[in-house]
C-alpha cells in the first residue's frame, strides 16, 4: 500500500540534494583548513527594502557572515548546522516535522568545562523563538522555503468556493465541504488547481464572519472564493492566495477590521512582512485590494463625496474608541512607504482624527444581509477599494 503521496517523494529528493550540496561546501572549507563560513542575507529591518516597482518588501543586498571561529557567531553557526541535520534526517525518514518538533529534536545540553574548570551547561537553544529564527536563516541560506523541506505548521487558513484541487493524490471539491471548509495545507505549492468557477476572491480577517457568509451562501450567490486567515495570515494562506492571484488571475479583495491591526494584515498579504521579507517574492500578493472596512465607510469623506454606510446612531453604537497603542501604530503605518498613497493617507487621517475603530462584526450587527448583499457587492461594483 502506498502511504505517502508521489508529490512528497519528489519534494523530499530535491530537498535532500540541496542540503547535501550546500553543506558539502562547509565540509570542504573545514577539510581545507579554512574557517567555515555561512553567508546569508541579513534579515533585519535595515536590510528590508520596499520595491516600489514590484510593490514588495524584499531583502536588501546586505549579507552576514556567520563563521565558526567568530566567538559571537559560533553558536549560531552550530545551531544552523544542527537544524540542517535534523531536517535532513526527518526528510530521510519520511517525516513531516513541525517547527515545534524541530525545536524539541535539536534541544539538548552541552556540558563543558569553563575556563575555571567548573562544569557548565548550555542548551543548544532555549526557546522556540530561537530555533524558529534559525529555521528562517536556513531557508535563506539554502534558498528553499520550509514548505519545500516538508516542515509543517498548524493549518489556520480556510477556503470554500466553486473550485476543485488536487492535494496529495486526492481530488477535493471546495464547493462540497458542507458547513466546514478546506483547511489550506501547510505545503500549498503541492496543491494542483484543477478547475475553478469564480469571479473574485474575498479574504475575511475574522473566522466568525467567514462562517456566517459561508452558511448564508455568499460564495454561491456572488461566484466568489471565500477565504479566511483567522487573524494574522500564516505562510500557507498567503502562498495560496498568491497562487490564486498569479495563476488564476482572479481579483483578490480583503475585508478586515477598521483599525491599524486590520490594515497591517492587509499589508502582510500584499507586500510581505519584515521578518519574512525573504519570501515575499513567493508569498506576497501585490495585486491585493483593500475592500474595507475603511474609516470613510463609517464617517464618509466629503473630499471624495462619499457617504457613510452607517447612520449617526449606528455609528454611536458600533464604533470603539481607539486606544493609545492603536494611535501609535497608525502613526507608524502612515510612514511606511506602501501606505503613502493619497487615499490611504486620507483614510488613516480620518482614523487619527476620529480616534475610532470598528470591527467587521459591527456590519453583521447591522444585518448579515447588509454585509452580504449590500456593503460587499456595492463596494466592488463602484470600485470603492484601495490598492
Amino acid at each position: 500500500m502506498k502511504l505517502t503521496s508521489s508529490v512528497d517523494v519528489k519534494v523530499r529528493k530535491k530537498a535532500l540534494e540541496v542540503l547535501r550540496d550546500r553543506f558539502k561546501e562547509l565540509v570542504n572549507q573545514i577539510l581545507a583548513g579554512e574557517n567555515p563560513t555561512i553567508v546569508i542575507p541579513k534579515r533585519t529591518l535595515s536590510n528590508t527594502v520596499y520595491d516600489e516597482g514590484r510593490k514588495l518588501l524584499l531583502l536588501g543586498p546586505d549579507t552576514l557572515s556567520r563563521s565558526f571561529l567568530d566567538v559571537r557567531e559560533s553558536k549560531k553557526f552550530m545551531q544552523t548546522v544542527l537544524m540542517a541535520s535534523i531536517i535532513y534526517n526527518a526528510l530521510t525518514n519520511d517525516e513531516y516535522p513541525t517547527i515545534r518538533d524541530l525545536f524539541y529534536r535539536g534541544k539538548h545540553t552541552i556540558r563543558y568545562r569553563g575556563p575555571e574548570g567548573k562544569v557548565l551547561g548550555e542548551n543548544t537553544w532555549d526557546s522556540q523563538r530561537e530555533s524558529d529564527s534559525i529555521i528562517r536563516d536556513l531557508e535563506v541560506f539554502i534558498n528553499m522555503l520550509r514548505e519545500e523541506l516538508l516542515i509543517l505548521s498548524k493549518e489556520k487558513g480556510k477556503v470554500v468556493g466553486n473550485m476543485r484541487i488536487r492535494s496529495g493524490d486526492d481530488v477535493i471539491d471546495l464547493s462540497k465541504m458542507g458547513h466546514g471548509a478546506y483547511s489550506i495545507e501547510p505545503t500549498p505549492d503541492l496543491i494542483e488547481f484543477l478547475d475553478v468557477d469564480a469571479e473574485y476572491v474575498l479574504i475575511v480577517e475574522k473566522d466568525a464572519v467567514f462562517q456566517q457568509l459561508h452558511r448564508a451562501g455568499f460564495w454561491r450567490k456572488y461566484k466568489a472564493l471565500l477565504i479566511t486567515s483567522a487573524g494574522q495570515p500564516d505562510r500557507a494562506t498567503r502562498r495560496f492566495v498568491r497562487r490564486l492571484s498569479e495563476e488564476l488571475k482572479l481579483p483578490i479583495y480583503i475585508l478586515t477590521d477598521s483599525d491599524p491591526y486590520g490594515w497591517y494584515i492587509y499589508s502582510v498579504f500584499k507586500i510581505g512582512s519584515i521578518t519574512l521579507s525573504y519570501e515575499s517574492e513567493r508569498l506576497a500578493t501585490p495585486w491585493l485590494r483593500f475592500l474595507g472596512v475603511m474609516p470613510s465607510d463609517i464617517f464618509g469623506d466629503v473630499n471624495i463625496k462619499k457617504k457613510p454606510y452607517l447612520s449617526e446612531s449606528e455609528r454611536r453604537n458600533y464604533i470603539i474608541k481607539a486606544k493609545e497603542r492603536d494611535i501609535k501604530r497608525a502613526k507608524e503605518l502612515i510612514n511606511y512607504k506602501w501606505f503613502q498613497t493619497s487615499r490611504w493617507k486620507a483614510e488613516i487621517n480620518i482614523f487619527l482624527e476620529k480616534e475610532a475603530k470598528l470591527e467587521i462584526e459591527a456590519l453583521t450587527s447591522k444585518g448579515l444581509k447588509f454585509l452580504m448583499d449590500e456593503y460587499i457587492p456595492r463596494k466592488i461594483e463602484v470600485k470603492d477599494w484601495m490598492d
Binding site: 553543506f23 573545514i30 565558526f68 552550530m78 548546522v81 544542527l82 541535520s85 552541552i110 563543558y112 568545562r113
Partner: protein, 525 residues
C-alpha cells in the same frame, strides 16, 4: 626604651626597672609574655645563625604540664645550630640586663640584648625556676651547661649550676630552656602567625615547632640563598646622642679628641676632624675622657648639625634581596604571582636604612578588602599595632590599588621589610614604625614598583583568560557541528571533522593549551 629614659631610673637596677615596667618589653599578660619569650629566643637563634652565614635549623618546643599542679607553667625550649656562645659570656648574655661588650653597630634582630633577659627575668619571677643554657662554639670540643637566674637588686647573674661535657660530634649552637607562666590558648594564634611570617622572611631556615598539644609544624628550608651577613660599622655622627657619646668615651682607647673622632665614628677623616674641633673651639689633643658634661653636650650638638659628613654606610644592613623575598612569599603563601623590590639604601637622622617590598597575588591567598600586610623590621615580624604603622598608611591610604587593576576584595599580600641600625619604632612596644618621611617615601616607591609588575601580570592574565574563554566558547560547539555535518555529508567522518575544527581553534588562539575537544566538552545529551 631609650637610654635617656633609663637615666632617670638610675637608682633602680635595670633588672628592677624592667620588672616594674614589664609591659614595655611586651610582657604585659601571660599570653603576651609567652608569645614574647618564644619570639626573643627564636630571634636570638636566628641571629646566631644567619648573621654568620650558617643556614639555620631551629627547633622549638613548647610543653605544658611540666610542673605538677601548675598547668599555667610552660617549658619553652629553643635549639639552634648557630655559632654558640663562649662559656665565659653565657652568664652575662642570659642573666645581666644591658650587658654588651662593644658599641659598634650592625643590624641584627635583637639590638641591645634586653629581650632574652626579660624573658629570663619574667620566667624566674613567675616560676622561680632558673633558665638552662647549653652551648658549644664551632671549634670547641665541649658543651657547656648553665642554670642561671638574675639577682634583681644588683643586676648580676646567679649561677645555680654549671657543667661541661665532651662533644661526641661536631654539633655547635645553643639550647635554651625556660619555664614560664603563660596562656597558650590565647597566645596560640599569634605564635603561629609569628612562625609563619618568620618562615616567609627567612625561607633559608628550617624551623620545627612542637606546640603543647603535640602538634608539630615543619617549615622546610626552601632555598639555600642567604642574606649577606651585616658588617659591623662605627656609629655615624648624625645618629649619635649624648648617652651613646658617653659610652663611646668611656670605652675608647684613644687619648686625643682628634683621634677619638677619627677612630670611633664613620665618615670622619683628618680634615673633618680638624674642622669639628675648630667649631668646638677645643684643643685637638685633649683627652676625650677629660671632657666636661657641657663639652660633651656641645660635641653632640655639633655632630648633629654638621652637614659635610659622608652619608652613613649601608654595609651594616642585612637586607634579604628580591630573590629571597619572592621565595619566602611563594613557599608559604602559595600565590600565583610574586614580585619584590629592594630599594637603594637611604638615610634618616644619621641612620642608614633599606626598604624592601614584596607582593604576592592570587593562588591560596584569601581575597580581602584590605591587602594582607606582612610587616618586618630587621627580619622580625611585627604583628601588633598594624594600623598605626607607616606601611599600613602607604598600602591602604597612599596607594589606589584600582590604578593597578586590582579589584577588591583582592587575594593580595604586601610585604614591607625595613632594615636599619635604628628602626624608628612608634612607642615602646616596638610593634609599629613611625611615619618617617624618608622611609615612607621609599616604602611607597617600592610598593608602586611591585604594584606595576602586578598590573602587567593581571593585564596579561586577563588577556590570556579572555582568549581561553573565547576558545572554550567555540570548542564547546565542535561535537554538535561535527556530528551534524557528518550526518548530512555522508562521505566525511565525525572524527576528522572534529579534529580539523579543533585545529582551526588552536591556530587562532595560540595561548590556548587544550589537547583535545574532550578537555572542554564533557557531554552532549
Amino acid at each position: 626604651m631609650s637610654v635617656q629614659q633609663l637615666e632617670r631610673f638610675r637608682s633602680l637596677s635595670p633588672a628592677e626597672f624592667f620588672y616594674r615596667n614589664k609591659e614595655i618589653a611586651g610582657f604585659s599578660n601571660p599570653a603576651r609574655a609567652l608569645y614574647q619569650s618564644i619570639r626573643e629566643l627564636v630571634e636570638n637563634a636566628l641571629d646566631a645563625t644567619d648573621s654568620y652565614g650558617i643556614l639555620p635549623v631551629i627547633k622549638v618546643s613548647i610543653d605544658s604540664g611540666v610542673i605538677p599542679d601548675k598547668p599555667e607553667v610552660y617549658l619553652i625550649s629553643v635549639e639552634d645550630n648557630g655559632i654558640g656562645i663562649p662559656p665565659d659570656n653565657i652568664p652575662q648574655a642570659f642573666a645581666q640586663l644591658l650587658y654588651s661588650s662593644k658599641y659598634v653597630l650592625r643590624q641584627t634582630r635583637g639590638m641591645f640584648g634586653i629581650g632574652v633577659k626579660m624573658a629570663v627575668l619574667y620566667s624566674q619571677i613567675t616560676t622561680g625556676k632558673p633558665v638552662e643554657v647549653l652551648s658549644s662554639t664551632i671549634n670547641s670540643s665541649r658543651i657547656y651547661m648553665f642554670r642561671l637566674s638574675i639577682d634583681i637588686k644588683s643586676n648580676k647573674p646567679v649561677i645555680h649550676h654549671k657543667a661541661s661535657f665532651k662533644k661526641s660530634n661536631d654539633w655547635h649552637g645553643t639550647i635554651v630552656k625556660l619555664f614560664i607562666e603563660g596562656d597558650w590558648n590565647r597566645a596560640k594564634s599569634k605564635v603561629y602567625e609569628y612562625f609563619k611570617r618568620t618562615a616567609i622572611i627567612a625561607p633559608y631556615a628550617t624551623i620545627i615547632l612542637k606546640d603543647p598539644t603535640d602538634n608539630v609544624v615543619y617549615f622546610k628550608r626552601s632555598t639555600t640563598l642567604m642574606p649577606r651577613p651585616p658588617k659591623e660599622v662605627k656609629p655615624h655622627p648624625h645618629g649619635v646622642d649624648i648617652e651613646l657619646l658617653k659610652m663611646l668615651i668611656s670605652n675608647t682607647t684613644t687619648t686625643t679628641l682628634k683621634e677619638f673622632l677619627m677612630e670611633e665614628f664613620q665618615g670622619i677623616g683628618e680634615v673633618t676632624s680638624k674642622t669639628i674641633i675648630e667649631l668646638l673651639k677645643l684643643d685637638p689633643n685633649k683627652d676625650p675622657k677629660g671632657l666636661s658634661n657641657d663639652e660633651i653636650e656641645l660635641l653632640a650638638k655639633v655632630l648633629k648639625e654638621f652637614n659635610n659628613f659622608k652619608p652613613p654606610r649601608p654595609d651594616s644592613l642585612s637586607y634579604l634581596g628580591e630573590e629571597i623575598i619572592k621565595i619566602g612569599l611563594e613557599s608559604i603563601l602559595k600565590p600565583e604571582f610574586v614580585a619584590a623590590n629592594t630599594r637603594k639604601p637611604g638615610v634618616y637622622e644619621g641612620h642608614a636604612f633599606i626598604v624592601e617590598v614584596g607582593l604576592a597575588y592570587g593562588g591560596n591567598i584569601p581575597p580581602s578588602e584590605e591587602p594582607l600586610l606582612l610587616r618586618f623590621a630587621n627580619k622580625i615580624p611585627l604583628l601588633y599595632d598594624e594600623r598605626s604603622d607607616v606601611s599600613w598608611k602607604v598600602v591602604n591610604q597612599n596607594i589606589d590599588w584600582s590604578l593597578y587593576e586590582v579589584e577588591k576584595p583582592a587575594p593580595l599580600a604586601v610585604l614591607v621589610h625595613i632594615c636599619s641600625t635604628k628602626i624608628p619604632y612608634k612607642g615602646v612596644g616596638k610593634e609599629s614604625i613611625a611615619d618617617v618621611p624618608e622611609i615612607e617615601n621609599e616604602i611607597e616607591k617600592g610598593v608602586r614598583e611591585v604594584a606595576r609588575e602586578l598590573k602587567s601580570y593581571i593585564v596579561r592574565k586577563r588577556k590570556e583568560r579572555e582568549e581561553v574563554e573565547k576558545a572554550v566558547g567555540i570548542i564547546k560547539y565542535i561535537p554538535d557541528i561535527a556530528k551534524s555535518l557528518s550526518s548530512i555529508v555522508n562521505d566525511v567522518q565525525y572524527n576528522s571533522l572534529s579534529n580539523e575544527l579543533f585545529k582551526l581553534v588552536l591556530k587562532k588562539f595560540k595561548n590556548v593549551k587544550f589537547k583535545s575537544v574532550d578537555d572542554v566538552v564533557v557531554s552532549v545529551e
